[in-house]
Amino acid sequence: MSIILTEEQSMFREMVAKYLADNCSLETRQKTIASGSVWRPKVWRDFAELGILGAGFPEELGGFGGGTIEHMIVMEQLGGALALEPYLETAVIGGGFLRHADKALASELCNGISSGDARIAFAYAEPRGRYNLAAIETKARSQGGDFILDGHKAVVIGASCATHLIVTARTSGYDRDQDGISVFLAPIDLPGLRRRDYSMVDGHGASDLYFDQVRVPQAALIGPLDQGFPIVQQVVDSAIAAICAEAVGVMRRLLDDTVAYTKQRKQFGQPIANFQVLKHRMVDMLINVEEAISMTHMATLALAKSGAERSRAVSAAKVHVGKACRFVGQNAVQLHGAIGTTDELAVSHYFKRATVLENMFGSVDHHLTRFASIMSAASLPKEIA
């Protein structure tokens, strides 16, 4: 079993690849970042017009009927182009939550996403929560038909260019309980919400958010009250599969650049690619990339499955891809030599993105532990894959 793209999906991939190659050079990316911005509004509008933003949405939400495979295609290409734009947050995560939202609200916002007018950021992490999605101290209490949010959300990627936030908050229970978690959708400019914007090491924008008696209406609740956690897990699993695909795009470029560089760089009177120790290192990088692709396929297909089976596959993929990000990224820099440590070549920028992806939504240790505990909770299934 494996993913084989339909003719339509292959054409879609070619289209995305061509657009990115023609319009999203590393140079324009670095200029954008240097100017203090965290995204390119024109690129986003083009994404909307080309149908990229709606590609992974079901038709009833105003999309084109695609799903996880379309997300995989787009994310891998975005990785290859080192794009900054918040597709993950908006289409994958936002789209994932909106399936569970109030129908009218969902349909309106999905139209906004597809047209490029709405962008979403996902506020889940907290300063003391590490990678535990249930470690939520942010509180939402019910008051006169509304909810009042208080708390501090950490490292919210894309908040500074978002129009809407999806926020996890505790409506009952205690810290790290999986019960008592609810999910809310709110516009970004609510009174009482303070934002501290900053940059991630890879140039993406992020913010810490401080909620001080922020009032949202009843309709802002996504999914059932107190029982939002399974939705959070499901959406985060789909986000992990998507960033695995992005990592594949990033790592392919790191490998390609390294192979090309070592073929042209001469030392001791010959291309350094002639040296066996370098060849073998690049083979190990290749194996990491190929297995990352395999694991991305596995995780993407597993998104259709339920609970533990899905999470087990997704965590396995994240472990393998996380390790690959580190190995391929660090060795790409190493094999470039001194120039690899500067910001003059693409390699250091891709390396920094790989470093961020490695730990995004959980480090290797986090997912290895999660995988192992799913394995011991269930008796070992007949087939491991």
């Binding site: 690619a273 190929e290 297995e291 393998h320 290895l368 394995m375 070992l380 087939e383 491991i384």
Partner: protein, 402 residues
């Protein structure tokens, strides 16, 4: 993949399980549980071979016209996984997996008609004469000479690391028929019965205590020219095709799955330092989890290879090498962890408890009997069929143009 396929697979799996329940009887199971070598002992091999042959499942991967089953890739996988989990004897596949396909591809109609049925029935059992004392990783430097004399070649030289030569009755071998040009161009591929005058087989004992390997000497051995497979001096082409098949055959990712289960089962019975189950020991648990994930990555790469999904042509060429490399290294780590799991009994010499004719019961728990011998045996996995370092050279050239 449609739902129908899934249902069909379920039916097929049930059929395989029924077959194994019925034919892999307690006596055979008990014999198989005491096997420590790369291949099972001849008595067990012969019995299991006949059962598979009678069922029509001895060469499932062969083309149907030659006696294959025509299974889907997923059915092949199910068969292998079920066999691995039941612990069926490991049969030497040198004839059916390596020599047979080479004869199908390069043999004459007469050769096919003569050899293929005998390969399948087990009448001919095979060994592989490739390496020589002076030609290991650098296989093309081989020196065993074959000089044409009428309708025969006269062969002189020796082959080494010849697995199974002491149980086989036929050998396929690479010989030098010309010293002109590049080393690769003067090689020919011959097959010969091992009872020809002038052939002697000498045992080489492995560090595990098993006898798997041999050196085979050729002293003025007359091999008929009719036994040449492919063209004279074009044996390198045949040899490479066999090597590719061999890499596929030794990867055996399905056996990796079984090795994970085996290691996990040991850990369920073993006690950790704190008195709990070793399976719940935090350090052990994570090590096993990591290996399990490696096995998943190897299997999903197999899946991608079978479906030709998202693989560039240059990478496709190198994938069997990649899989051989990864499967052999992962298998070693699993065997290593199983020994580790056994704690104080891990390093006991169990030789007297191994084999059909075992003279003593296992020392320590039954499930620890084969762990060390398999660990020692598995050190060869990253050496035979092209050492890991050679695999990396090949992958660098084929996939990266290095």
């Amino acid at each position: 993949m449609s739902l129908d396929d899934v249902a069909q697979d379920g039916t097929f799996r049930a059929e395989v399980r029924r077959f194994l329940d019925e034919k892999f009887d307690p006596e055979l199971r008990a014999m198989a549980a005491r096997q420590g070598g790369l291949f099972a002992e001849p008595e067990l091999v012969n019995r299991w071979w006949k059962i598979l042959y009678d069922k029509g499942w001895i060469t499932p991967a062969w083309p149907v016209e030659y006696g294959g089953t025509g299974w889907t890739p997923s059915q092949h996988r199910i068969f292998l996984v079920e066999c691995a989990e039941a612990g069926t004897p490991i049969l030497p596949g040198l004839g059916t997996k390596l020599c047979g396909p080479a004869i199908m591809r390069f043999g004459t109609p007469e050769q096919k008609e003569y050899f293929l049925p005998r390969l399948r029935s087990g009448e001919h059992t095979w060994c592989q004469g490739y390496s020589e004392p002076g030609a290991g990783s650098d296989l093309a430097s081989l020196q065993t000479r074959a000089i044409r004399d009428g309708d025969d070649y006269i062969v002189n030289g020796s082959k080494i690391w010849t697995t199974n030569a002491h149980h086989a009755n036929w050998i396929f071998l690479l010989v030098r028929t010309s010293t002109e040009g590049k080393p690769q161009t003067g090689i020919s591929f011959l097959v010969a019965p091992l009872n020809l005058p002038g052939i002697t087989v000498k045992p080489i004992k492995s560090m595990s205590g098993e006898h798997e390997l041999n050196q085979v000497f050729f002293d003025n051995v007359r091999i008929p020219v009719a036994n040449l497979i492919g063209r004279e001096n074009d044996g390198w082409t045949v040899a490479k095709a066999v090597l590719e098949d061999e890499r596929g055959a030794v990867s055996q990712s399905q056996r990796l799955e079984a090795a994970v289960l085996q290691t996990r089962n040991v850990s369920l019975y073993e006690t950790a330092d704190d008195g709990g189950s070793l399976a719940e020991d935090s350090a052990f648990k994570l090590k096993l989890a990591e290996l399990q994930i490696d096995v998943m990555a190897i299997q999903w790469t197999d899946n991608r290879m079978a479906a030709e999904s998202g693989i560039s042509p240059s990478v496709a060429q190198a994938l069997p090498n990649m899989q051989k490399l990864r499967a052999s290294e992962t298998r070693q780590r699993l065997n290593e962890l199983r020994v580790e799991a056994l704690g104080v009994y891990g390093a006991v010499d169990q030789r007297k408890g191994l084999g059909i004719e075992a003279s003593e019961p296992p020392i320590g728990p039954d499930y620890g009997l084969t762990a060390m011998v398999e660990y020692l045996e598995s050190r060869a996995r990253t050496i035979f069929a092209g050492a890991s370092e050679i695999q990396r050279n090949i992958i660098a050239r084929a996939a990266l143009g290095l």
